[in-house]
Amino acid sequence: MPHLKAALSRTLQLLLVLWAVVTILFLMFRLMPGNPMAAYIDPTFTIEQQQALMAQFGLDKPLWEQYLIYVGNLLQGELGQSFRYREPVADRILALLPNTLILTFTSLIIAYVFGILAGAYLAWKRGGVVEHAAIPLVLTTRAMPEFWLGMVLLAVFSFNLGWFPAGGTRPAGANYDSLWALYTSRDFLTYLALPALTLAIYSQGLPLLLMRSNMLDVMKEDFVTMARIKGLSNWTVVVRHAARNALLPVMTSFAIAVGYQLQGNVVVESVFSWPGLGRELVNAVSASDYPLAQGAFLMIAVVVIVMNLIADLLYAFLDPRISHA
C-alpha cells in the first residue's frame, strides 16, 4: 500500500516539525531578557525565598538541563505550573479547550456551508451581475480585521438592539450542573452567536472563492459535458458531478482553516471575553505568566500541525484516484 507509506513518512515529518516548534518555543521563552519570574517576585522576598521560588519552577538549573526537563515533562503531558494561578497549566488549558473548539467549529461549519453553496452558485451564474458584485465584496470581507467586525456587531446587536449579550459564555451568576448542561443551554447559544458570526463572516471567503474557481475548472471538464449529453438534469450535472469534484480541495482546506481560525480566535475571543485558549494566551503574555503562555501556544501549534496533516490524509481519503490506487 503506497499511500500508507506516504502517510507514515508524512507523520514522521510532522513529529520533526513538532519537535522543532517545541524547541523554538522553549528558547523563545527562556532567552528573553530579564528574569522570567520578575513579575512574581515580591520585592520583600529574601534572596533565599527568591531562590526557593526559582528552584520550585526549575529555573535555577543550566539551560540545557531545563530543556531536557521541559521536553521530558512534555512527553508525559506535563506543562508545568502557572505562575499566576499556581495550578497545573495542563488542567487550565484542557478546561478552556472546549470553549475554543466549539467557537471554532461552529463558525467554520457555518462559513463552509455558506461558502460552498455561494461559491457553487457564483460559478453556475458566471459572468452575471451578481458575480461581478459579489467577488469584490467577498475580497472585502477577507480584508476586514476580525476584531473590528466583532466590535461593529457588538455595538449594533448587543449595545444598540440588545439582542445578544456583550461577552462571556453565561449570564452572571448562572450555574450549570455540568459543562454539557452549559453547552446545551439556550443562553449559551445567545452568547455564542456573535463571536461565531464574526468568525464565520471572515472565514466564508476562503471556501467560497476556492469552490467557485474549482467549479469553473471542473465545468470545463469532458465528464461534465458528457453528463449533459446523457440528458441528466441540470441539478444532477451541477451538483453530483461538477460540485462533487470541485468539493475535494475545499474539504481539505477545512482542516487547514481550523488551524488558521485558532490563530484568529486570539483577537476575537478577546473582544467577546470568550474564555478560550486565545484569550488565555493574550492574558498570560500580558501577565508574564510564561508557563501558561507557553502551554497555550503549544496547544495551538499542535492543533495547527495536526490539522495540516489531516488535510493531507483527508485529500488522499476523499479522492478515489489516491485511495483506490
Binding site: 440528458g231 484516484r321 483506490h324 490506487a325
Partner: protein, 281 residues
C-alpha cells in the same frame, strides 16, 4: 429504400470569438441510413466534431446552431424544444467520447455512472439496473466484478469499452462515436472497432464514427462523409468514395492511405495552403 434515420441538411454552426464569428460548420448535408456505420472524416478543425456535438445540441457556450435542419424520426432536432431534445438524449442518441479517461467522472465507480443513466434516464429499478449493468459489461467483454472499480483503475482500451457499454445502456437508435480509438494503440484499436461493428450489427443500431483516420473509416464504415473547412465535400458509399473521389481533398486522403500490398505509394500529396476559414468580423 426507407427514409434515413438521420438526415442533416445545410447545417450551420458558428462560434463567437472576440467580436467576430467563425462558421465552423458551413452548410453540411448528409444522411445516416438505418443500421449502418457512417464515417465522418476530415482533418482537425474541419468541423466534424462540431457536427457530432451539434447532433446532441450540447455545444460550447460560445457556439450556436445558426441554420439548417437535422431530421431524426420525423422531428427536426434544430428546432425541437429543449425539454423534448433532452428526452431524446441518450435514449435515442448516445455518445462515445474521444477520451474515456476524461469523460468518466473520476470520483464515482463505473457502476454508479451506469446506474445513473439506467435509473435516472431509463427509469429502471435498483435490481433491474444491476442486472443491466452486468449484461452490458458482458456485452463489451469486461468481467462484471470490475463494475465497482473507479475509472482510473481501467486501462485505456478497457475504459473505451466502458464508454461503449455506457452508450448502449438505453438501447439508443444512434450512437455517435467521436474519435473513439484515436488515443489507443493499433491492436487495441482493432479490437474496439471489431467490437463496435459486431454490436452495431447485433443490435441493429446506426453509428456515426467521427475520425481523422481514413484507415479506420475504410476498416468498418459502410458510408463515408468527408468534411473540409466546414463543408461536406464528398459523401457516398465507402467504395465509391475511395475509388472515384471527386474533391481534391478526398484524393489526397485516399493517397495518404497506406497501400496494403506493401508497395510504397510514393509521396504524400498535401493540398496547397491552409484550409479556408469562414470568418466574418
Amino acid at each position: 429504400m426507407t427514409e434515413p434515420l438521420l438526415s442533416v441538411r445545410d447545417l450551420k454552426v458558428s462560434y463567437t470569438v472576440g467580436f467576430g464569428k467563425i462558421d465552423a460548420v458551413d452548410g453540411a448535408s448528409f444522411d445516416v441510413p438505418r443500421g449502418s456505420i457512417v464515417g465522418l472524416v476530415g482533418e482537425s478543425g474541419c468541423g466534424k466534431t462540431t457536427v457530432a456535438k451539434a447532433l446532441t445540441r450540447v455545444i460550447a457556450d460560445n457556439a450556436a446552431i445558426t441554420g439548417g435542419r437535422m431530421m431524426f424520426g420525423g422531428r427536426d432536432l434544430v428546432t425541437l424544444p429543449e425539454r423534448e431534445m433532452n428526452a431524446l438524449r441518450w435514449r435515442d442518441i448516445a455518445f462515445v467520447p474521444q477520451s474515456a479517461m476524461n469523460s468518466l467522472d473520476p470520483v464515482y465507480t463505473v457502476e454508479y455512472q451506469l446506474n445513473e443513466v439506467l435509473r435516472r434516464r431509463g427509469g429502471l429499478g435498483r435490481r433491474d439496473a444491476r442486472r443491466r449493468c452486468e449484461e452490458l459489461f458482458e456485452l463489451v467483454g469486461i468481467d462484471r466484478g470490475r463494475l465497482s472499480d473507479y475509472p482510473h483503475q481501467f486501462s485505456g482500451g478497457m475504459r473505451q469499452r466502458v464508454a461503449i457499454a455506457l452508450a448502449l445502456a438505453l438501447n439508443p437508435k444512434l450512437v455517435i462515436a467521436d474519435e473513439p480509438v484515436t488515443a489507443l494503440d493499433v491492436i487495441v484499436q482493432r479490437q474496439i472497432l471489431d467490437q463496435l461493428r459486431e454490436l452495431q450489427v447485433a443490435l441493429g443500431i446506426s453509428v456515426i464514427l467521427v475520425t481523422h483516420d481514413i484507415s479506420v473509416v475504410a476498416y468498418i464504415c459502410d458510408r463515408t462523409v468527408v468534411m473540409y473547412a466546414g463543408k461536406v465535400v464528398e459523401s457516398g458509399t465507402m467504395q465509391a468514395t475511395l475509388t472515384e473521389p471527386s474533391h481534391p481533398y478526398t484524393m489526397g486522403l485516399r493517397n495518404a492511405f497506406p497501400d496494403l500490398q506493401g508497395a510504397a505509394s510514393g509521396v504524400l500529396t498535401p493540398i496547397e495552403g491552409a484550409p479556408p476559414v469562414g470568418r466574418h468580423d
